[in-house]
Symmetry: C2
Subunit: 428 residues, 2 copies
Amino acid sequence: MKNISKLSTESYKGVRDFYPEDLFIQNYIFDTWRKTVEKFGYVEYSASVLEPAELYKAKTGEEIVNEQTYTFTDRGERQVTLRPEMTPTVARLVAQKQHELTFPLRWYSIPNLFRYEKPQRGRLREHWQLNVDFFGIDSINADIEIITVAERIMKSFGAKDGDFVIKINDRRIMSSLYEKFHLDNEASYKVSKIIDKKNKITAESFGSALAEIIGEKAKEFVTLLESSEKLFDYFGEENKHVKELVSLIEELQKSGIANVEFDPTLMRGFDYYTGTVFEVFDNHPDNNRSVFGGGRYDDLLDIFGAEKVPTIGFGAGDVTMRDFLETHGLLPEYRQNINLYICSTKPEYIDESQKLANTLRENGLNVAVDLSGKKLGDQMKIANKQGIPYVICVGEDEIKSGLYGVKNMDSGEEEKVKIEEIADIVKK
Amino acid sequence: MKNISKLSTESYKGVRDFYPEDLFIQNYIFDTWRKTVEKFGYVEYSASVLEPAELYKAKTGEEIVNEQTYTFTDRGERQVTLRPEMTPTVARLVAQKQHELTFPLRWYSIPNLFRYEKPQRGRLREHWQLNVDFFGIDSINADIEIITVAERIMKSFGAKDGDFVIKINDRRIMSSLYEKFHLDNEASYKVSKIIDKKNKITAESFGSALAEIIGEKAKEFVTLLESSEKLFDYFGEENKHVKELVSLIEELQKSGIANVEFDPTLMRGFDYYTGTVFEVFDNHPDNNRSVFGGGRYDDLLDIFGAEKVPTIGFGAGDVTMRDFLETHGLLPEYRQNINLYICSTKPEYIDESQKLANTLRENGLNVAVDLSGKKLGDQMKIANKQGIPYVICVGEDEIKSGLYGVKNMDSGEEEKVKIEEIADIVKK
């Protein structure tokens, strides 16, 4: 056995350790996600974080594959990538069993994702992401449902209407606009990327970047992006994608989701969206940014040579979700999932304490038994520090009488009861 | 946008895709693990799958680090490893906050682990593992608790006493034996490795491998390993580790765990164990192998230059657990977590169906609404194929009367009730 002394206790750069307090928050976020999407009939799937590198070379944004993934070669000369996003994986799974699966499919997953980038607020090298996808329906009803699920997630965390806004756009409206301005594919792609960066650059650089591609009509173009009314007027009734988008927003409002708005500058980073795109945006001045978003991508299965499956979905990251909850004071207080701590007045009673604990565990309680062999006061201190709500001390009297004092650690009050009554007190 | 056609839909070699039916089993295993260990007061922690490679160069078995890990160099010239086991990570976490944490600590985690090896039954390149550790107690009481937790896990899955046996040994007894045979450190290490492989080689090769190191006394050595009685007789009352092990087994039996036995050939692969080691072993002739195991490792924090913390724990893998459950017919049947499917007699009633669904979701049901726009019979088929237990069809009559027919898909029976009564029927 070797002994390399003083090894660092730091984690790898840009990833997180989850001590129980941290994992409590993480699990709270995951559980809330899970419960909400399951209410809408979504079922969970999963896959390995390791994927063949080829999977990302097809349709993900260029920048992401070339510079931002963890890709390495294994000893069998295979190129392997730590998945940077879940969509290619779920497309792979659906394509693989396309003829066995019963469509439509409502699927979700909470994978961890890796990106090789400089860690910053809201962007770490590893994060977890709720992925929700609805496969097999191309009608507006699926768009309504997916955006409703997104909204319900925010509400399930306790967010109010005023805390966030849901911005909506349609890639096809943008394509119509590019056509009107006679932009070819390459120019359209470049303009999309510039619009996507609008909020990160000054109005001046935005205008001049567009002018470089569009020329003198850039000013008119910018004006059209300024408000939904102007853009709607520009297209009038002639464009069916505009009509559909108006109807989508109206349907959502009719169902009680008031905070939706058309935003022609909403692009979303990935290249594979083909229709509706949307984003939940934090209204708080301290965290004025996208919380999460998604959209319709009807062509993703193409890369597997599989039949087309119309799909709409979204991905919500844990880091931005946590930032949102923190900003709005919506994070729950930490408490351990232990109901009761059993102390022993002398070490020889530990056996009896364990026996009592086993009975109470069968009655549905989570019970920790003190094995420290310390003095009673120190045992109580351990329970106190760990925030356990109830304590019982087992000694000669308790064993003889069969009566146990259940101490409420908040109020300090103690009730003397029989074993059968303990679970009821603690569950209250 | 490029289009590489016919990309493979296969996963990376040796890892698994989890379709909903697969993840259902996976989640069943994780939930059973979680519930059981939380009953004993264990709290959950976690960490990233990426760790600095140095972490594994210290105390893990040599073979594992050099040949069996996924290790690569990132663009910042850092050596990174996909964690092959959780113990070094949890030791790192405990060492990092040693002076803030309240000991003793009962911690658990369910990480995924990677090993670069040839996939075979029970051994894949990625698997998940329940890790349970009790930090800060070096008395036999902690050993009893940890082995009790291991036993409760088996019982929680529905296993009976006869289905498995818990084998126990103590590394210190083996050290005493090596001393008696005048083996130095190197010889002891080699002998341990040979004993560890005993069940995989013939009695003949076992004897001759030992003879190479021990010489003519190898025969006596083999005889001592044959039964616990012989070994106990050999040491008599003089060896305190033997006495402790006898007492550990007696205490477990007294508490109702009958299927424990001393097995002097039980070694466990890792080098870092320092005392008690144990293994849950499947008794079934079709799966006669270790299900999981663990032991005491009191020195692991040394590598961080931290204070010693006595620790006992175990790791249980999902693949071997699943093999055990499958062998004993203990796997649950798949069912989706969807309570109700709502069909619409015409597409224009989908709005009403969604409204009804939203009300029922607030009443605690998981409800999927059909958006396929297909004929009613085809909608029912979707519900049937997905194994959803109840269906409601919304049409003109239902909207007018406010009475909905709740169809039980198993019995075919239908009850006509008001909205408020639907949740009660479905929850039954």
